[in-house]
């Protein structure tokens, strides 16, 4: 069992979870993730590492189904059943490059260690975070620390630039020379950003979020089609070249258990609230 040090809602439906562990920080790198299981009956789910130190790791997640609802109900001092990691391949390092990093939803949190790593390796980092509205944007100060410039985009224009990531990105790529685009967030955001950069021919790395179970390469549920070839998200990824991802396949595989997920959530809520 692993003790919860902190769990708080950062913005509606997005939570920070800090869990005690001495094992994970030693080998942790930007772009890696952990597997978490809320309780003895819980599912194993992957969550991006957003920070770590000698005694803890931090994750940011969106509350959506049973597993994340269980996590969202945790209080400091509670325990979770499983915490294993770091898992996956680290973000590929680059040096002296001009990099645009895009984050949305839980991906804003996931950018944190990646920006830190890019900045430490003397890259010029432009960070773009996006959300539906101002009240859903978070960590701007924290991310600014590791960025040369930071833009905010909201769909309703309540903060920063109004619109979608693609409009802003097109304008930005027309104006500036960019070597690499890096994206963390929901499948739609990673897809949209990849399709936007494709005509510019700019290498685009996306953090994917396929369903996982063991997350060590054993089960293969996380398989994704990359450049026509099957890869495992957990050991070959979770980051891939966005221009090579078979998005239709990823989107449909993410929906395999949608019916069961809805059923499971109502079952959990009935048990919890009566």
């Amino acid at each position: 069992m692993y003790k919860v040090i902190e769990r708080k809602q950062i913005v509606p439906n997005i939570h920070l979870l800090v869990v005690e562990t001495e094992h994970i920080h030693k080998n942790a790198h930007a772009g890696e993730f952990v597997v978490v299981r809320a309780d003895e009956k819980g599912e194993r789910i992957p969550l991006n590492l957003v920070d770590w130190d000698e005694r803890s790791v931090s994750m940011v997640f969106m509350e959506v189904g049973t597993s994340t609802s269980k996590l969202a109900a945790l209080k400091p001092g509670d325990e979770i059943a499983t915490l294993a990691g770091p898992l996956g391949k680290p973000t590929e390092k680059s040096e002296g490059k001009k990099i645009v990093c895009i984050g949305g939803c839980y991906g804003i949190g996931a950018l944190n260690p990646v920006l830190r790593m890019f900045k430490a390796n003397k890259n010029h980092v432009t960070t773009i975070i996006e959300a539906r509205s101002d009240f859903l944007l978070y960590w701007r100060e924290r991310l600014k620390e590791h960025s040369d410039e930071l833009y905010e985009i909201t769909r309703d224009g309540t903060r920063g630039v109004r619109g979608h990531i693609n409009d802003f990105l097109v304008e930005h790529l027309k104006k500036s020379k960019v070597d690499l685009v890096y994206v963390q967030g929901c499948t739609y955001l990673t897809y949209l950003a990849s399709e936007t950069t494709r005509p510019f021919g700019i290498k685009t790395i996306v953090g994917l979020n396929p369903i996982m179970v063991d997350a060590t390469g054993m089960c293969g549920v996380c398989r994704v089609t990359i450049n026509g070839e099957t890869k495992f998200g957990c050991v070959d990824g979770p980051e891939f070249d966005g221009h090579q991802v078979d998005w239709d396949n990823l989107l449909s595989r993410r929906k395999i258990y949608i019916r069961e997920e809805v059923y499971s959530l109502s079952f959990y809520e009935c048990e919890r609230y009566g």
């Binding site: 080998n27 294993a84 390469g217 054993m218 549920v221 398989r223 099957t230 396949n249 997920e261 079952f267």
Partner: protein, 466 residues
Amino acid sequence: MAKKIQPTKIPMREQPAKERIRNYAEVPYGYSEKEAMQEASRCLQCKRPTCIQGCPVEIDIPGFIDFIAKGDFQAAIDRLKEKNILPAVCGRVCPQEDQCEKVCVLTKKYEPVAIGRLERFAADWERAQGSMSVPKIPSQTGKKVAIIGSGPGGLTVAGDLIKLGHAVTMFEALHEPGGVLVYGIPEFRLPKAIVYREVDYLIECGVKLVLDFVVGKTATIDQLLESYDVVYIGTGAGLPWFMNIPGENLNGVYSANEYLTRANLMKAYLFPEYDTPIVRGKSVAVIGGGNVAMDCARTALRLGAEQVHIVYRRSHKEMPARLEEIHHAEGEGIIFDILTLPIKYIGDKKSWVKEMECIKMELGEPDASGRRRPVPIDGSNFVTPVDTVVCAIGQSPNPLIPQTTPDLKVGKWGNIEADPETGKTSKPRCWAGGDVVRGGATVILAMGDGRVAARSMHEYLMTGKW
């Protein structure tokens, strides 16, 4: 006068097929004391027993059987445990017909002695007594052993080395110990309580168990070697194979590992009480003819499938599964489509598998494995409806450790190379065995490898000679 021998094994009572296909309880009930003594009396107590040579861990088979025949069950289990720390497991999952029972002298005229069933009986008898004798551990040597993976191989090494006085830590990547015994083999074939009892026994002996620790990621082998004297790698065959045919990434197509892990380790058969779901298909095709394929097919039935097919490209005779598993599967109504090879999966509009295209095969000349090679029959293609496919065609070793241990020599299939005589790898202070060396093999071979490696590890720890 020579004693009269009953020509056939005493049958083992089991749950009727009609009932068992709707529950997860173990299928065979095991022998009663009387049945066990009767069966044990069929053993001729050969002066030069061939059965022992058929056993990868060299159990004194006539010895323990003799004790059962005489009704001294405690002595029987003690004798078994001298060589085998997992008798309750091996009695259930060993392919005895290819090992000890295959070379039993009785097979010249009759059915062999039911060695596996007797082994299971002795172990279950001990469990029923409630007590477990924990051996006295000799004084500590001060040497530290890291075992990676808590499957059958790791458990064997742990048992052997803790008894020799070393400090043993076992690292497990998953949240439960037992490896394939827990995530892979279903409850109805090997109740998990049996595995956990064996693990608890080792913990009582002093073995330290660390769960959720993914060696290769959480710590590398080199990092472990900073604080441990020796390392045993028993990480199994954790990378599932697919056939690389069109449609394999459609929804509803599983690897056997995923299907079984969801059902067993994550208890998806108890969804929604347990959170992990599994597709409960009505028409299920399991590809492959090994024990894992049988396990998947029988799991599918228990999850409510109306029709389950085993699709296998060779004939019945070449099936690698244990005979008992094939019989159980047949008894439960699994349909065997032999000499059949899937070549394509076809999806519906929402990318769910709905049909499978197969081609019929015929047997040609023997191949490298000595089995007759299946050859496709031109024009024999046909399409059949399915809503779930489980690919159980084998697996190769998990790559996490080789990837992060550059000086560890691996073979063409990603398997770690180890000396069969000692279990030594190319990397000093590292031993390996079981499926990570062999590819997909058996529980008992992993245990045999563990036994060999433990001997060599002990020698190194005491002499310092690599």
